[in-house]
Symmetry: C2
Subunit: 119 residues, 2 copies
Amino acid sequence: MQFDPKTLKFNDAGLIPAIAQDAENGDVLMMAWMNEEAVQRTLDTGRVTYWSRSRQSFWIKGESSGHVQELVDFRVDCDRDCLLVIVNQTGPACHTNRRSCFYSAVRDGEEVELMKPMV
Amino acid sequence: MQFDPKTLKFNDAGLIPAIAQDAENGDVLMMAWMNEEAVQRTLDTGRVTYWSRSRQSFWIKGESSGHVQELVDFRVDCDRDCLLVIVNQTGPACHTNRRSCFYSAVRDGEEVELMKPMV
C-alpha cells in the first residue's frame, strides 16, 4: 500500500510527534514535531526534518549544527498519530550538546543527571 | 534535587507525551499522554499510568488486559516537555495485540507491516 502523509492524524496545529531513535544502540534521542510537508521532506530527502514550533519554520535537523539525522527507517504507530524515526545521528541530538535529550532521570524522588555534554 | 511534577511543561490540555521503551531490548513500544497526577501515580506505584484522552480518565496500563508496564526508569527531556519511561512490558503494548504500536514502516514509498499480533 502506498504511503500518503495525508492519512496521518495531525493535531489541531497540524503537527504530529516524531520520536527519534538511535539506529546503532536503540537509545531514544529526542522527540520533536512534524507537519505534513516535514514528513514528506524527511521521506524524500532521507534527512530528518521537523517543524519548529518556536521558529514556525522547517527545521532540517543539524542544518546549522552539523548534527544531522540520516533516516534509516520510518515508522507509523497504530493510531497514525505518532511517528518513530530510526536514525544515524551525527554527534549530539540535544541542543545542550548531550547525545540524547533524555539525560535526566527521577530515582527515589530525586532528579539525577545521566549524561554530560559531549566535547 | 527533588523532582516535582509541577516543573514539567504540560500542554494546553494539561498533558505531556510519554514514550514507553522496552527495558529488555530498547524497542520503542508506544507513546501516550500523562497529566500531572498520572506522573505522580506512575512514580509512586511503579505501575505506568497514563491519562486517556478518549475516556478522560486515568489509564493504568494493563489494568484490564494484564499487559502492565512496570516502571524501570523515568526520564525527563531537556525542555521538560516530554517523558521517557523505561518499562518491563508484560505481553503486547499495543491494543492490536502487537508487541509495539510502531509496527508499520514506510519503505520506498510503500507501507509495510513489520509485526504480527502476538498469540
